[in-house]
Subunit: 363 residues, 2 copies
């Protein structure tokens, strides 16, 4: 992105702004601070699509009464290492951290903790959650289902969300390894970006609304669908499809939330799903105490060794060699912590509009 | 495959043969029966590469003293929901079922059970394990690392195994959904098959030993490598690479087994790894009681609904519509349970040779 098209803001200032806006819409101070912290983590880590750029969507839903600003989060069921939570239709940015913390607390006592969440909404970046567990010497897991935009392999309808999976493993002197990936080939945001720039998309990302592979981003917007990781049968598209189902069942069916084509949309102006098979969307969090398996220090030293071995691998031609999952986000964070978060002008305009509407000052 | 090139044998007969061969090499009757049961499941479910076709490899390792026929499987560490097991260098076909059963038993009491296994060997098909948990109204998980054949994204060396992930979800009236997938694009067996047939392989499966994408299977055999699921950066190859690392850390580093380029080979004639960073290869098993989250019956009804909704999806052009993960293996099992397991002549010859060597009768 051309830096002349962006302006940088301190992450602290953006967090403060978001928190105050959430409070304007009836969210308690502690919940608002928590929600803003998740959004701020996305902006800091360079995942621009999941940070302040989403404020308009969140407050649209809050202001229309479609998200509950004061959820009473309820424990529906539990065993020593598992639990199900009803998010009471709260912000996923509030319900998610609460349930993730429950998973960590279950793990402290039982060795591992697994929490399935129903009746919730978009929870921001999955990486936020798993890093919390990693900082407690645990292996963290986070998944969520999302509204349908991905076709099943050999299907031609939007039936699955981008259904991300995140897992984090702490290192000792090296940073944690953080896997954080949607189970489709490419993010929807990349389709929109290609459309804006008038560019084609690579073959393997998407199909048009007749089920044919397309390289025209406009075809995707016009009722096409993204393809699961692997793209087609020959290249393992059945595997990405299987992973998307796994996430959907753990987050949706296991908690009592909606799943598949029936997961409600994040945007107020979208057509509602044909059926309701549960409440809201679903999340799934996990935490495993490393010392439930092996000395935590020994494991973390192995992670360090792992990172160094893979960093030292012979680079493929034209590349600088393998990255470690989590590298790009950590590098963005190092830059943005000091240099601020660069926002594009349309996002700045949206935030100014929110500022005018709520009276919360912005820049 | 031309049916004239195969001959069918009853699964029961093959299992009996394998069990007696394992006993000839010093494996106890109950362990030999267990090991043969895992191999038999692969043959029944149509995963021919993982069944009796592997007997020669197993007995090579047993006869050279490289696998311990009488392992004393030891619990190294545990919490209410986690455990680590030392497989004492036994057959993975014996150690795996033992550890998987431990995961199920932990889950019975604590809601979930997670068992990491070190000092073990190839465990057969991952699907075998997760179906056991599913039959107990649990969600089953199984992973294993394997000897290196896959390149990390942007690397040009064999540094990761095919590192499969399996997860199963039981249905009520419908069969279970069984996800069972290697984290690379295509199996090594498909490369060998293409070479035998003189065919090219699709772009996206593999690189040659200079790190260039190749469609010639001979390049892969000659020191090339398979590509992670997603194939390249543009199509999400970093995601398959991330999943392979996840499996490697859960099975290898977490248990105290070898990982990455240091995982020992399944075949006696291969060059041993450069370093040892643990013992043997590693597995990871999980079981989660469904009623630790939601009524088991309600969940299984949702799985039925899920299956029906996805089966009814509009088919993409030229296809018969989406499959449900586990369909192909279940259909193979239905056919082979009555019609027998078709073996190709080279495999039959190997089994006859084993028969001559051990005195265990074969056909």
């Amino acid at each position: 992105m051309d830096s002349s098209d962006t302006k940088s803001f301190s992450a602290e200032m953006l967090r403060e702004f978001c928190a105050r806006v959430f409070m304007y819409f009836g969210v308690s101070k502690s919940d608002a601070t928590q929600a803003a912290d998740v959004l701020g983590a996305a902006d800091l880590r360079g995942i621009d699509s999941h940070g302040v750029a989403r404020m308009t969507s969140y407050i649209d839903l809050l202001s229309k009464g479609l998200i509950n600003p004061k959820p009473q989060i309820k424990l529906l069921r539990s065993t020593p290492s598992t639990a199900t939570v009803d998010g009471d239709n709260g912000l996923g940015l509030v319900v998610g951290p609460h349930a993730n913390q429950m998973a960590i607390e279950l793990a402290e006592k039982a060795g591992s903790g697994w929490v399935s969440v129903m009746n919730t909404n978009h929870y921001g970046i999955a990486g936020y959650y798993v890093l919390k567990a990693a900082s407690c010497d645990m292996i963290g897991w986070a998944m969520t289902n999302t509204s349908p935009i991905v076709a099943p392999l050999w299907g031609m309808e939007r039936m699955l969300g981008t259904n991300p999976i995140a897992v984090a493993f702490p290192g000792k002197n090296e940073p944690p390894i953080v896997i954080d990936m949607a189970t489709c080939t490419a993010a929807y945001g990349k389709i929109e970006m290609a459309l804006r720039k008038g560019e084609k998309i690579p073959e393997g990302w998407a199909m048009d609304n007749q089920g044919h592979v397309t390289v025209d981003p406009a075809d995707v917007i016009a009722g096409g669908a993204l393809l699961p990781l692997g793209s087609d049968r020959e290249r393992g598209g059945h595997k990405g499809y299987g992973l998307a189902i796994m996430v959907d069942l753990l987050t949706g069916a296991l908690s009592g939330a909606n799943w598949g084509p029936f997961a409600p949309s994040f945007a107020v102006h979208q057509v509602p799903p044909a059926r309701s098979v549960g409440k809201g969307i679903g999340h799934f969090f996990g935490a495993m105490r490393i010392d439930g398996f092996i000395e935590a220090d020994a494991f973390k030293s192995q992670v360090d060794d792992y990172i160094r071995v893979f960093r030292a691998a012979k680079p493929a031609p034209g590349t600088s060699g393998p990255l470690i999952p989590g590298d790009p986000e950590r590098e963005a964070e190092q830059i943005r912590r000091d240099g601020g978060v660069p926002l594009i002008l349309p996002v700045i305009e949206e935030l100014r509009s929110i500022s005018r509407r709520t009276g919360v000052p912005f820049d």
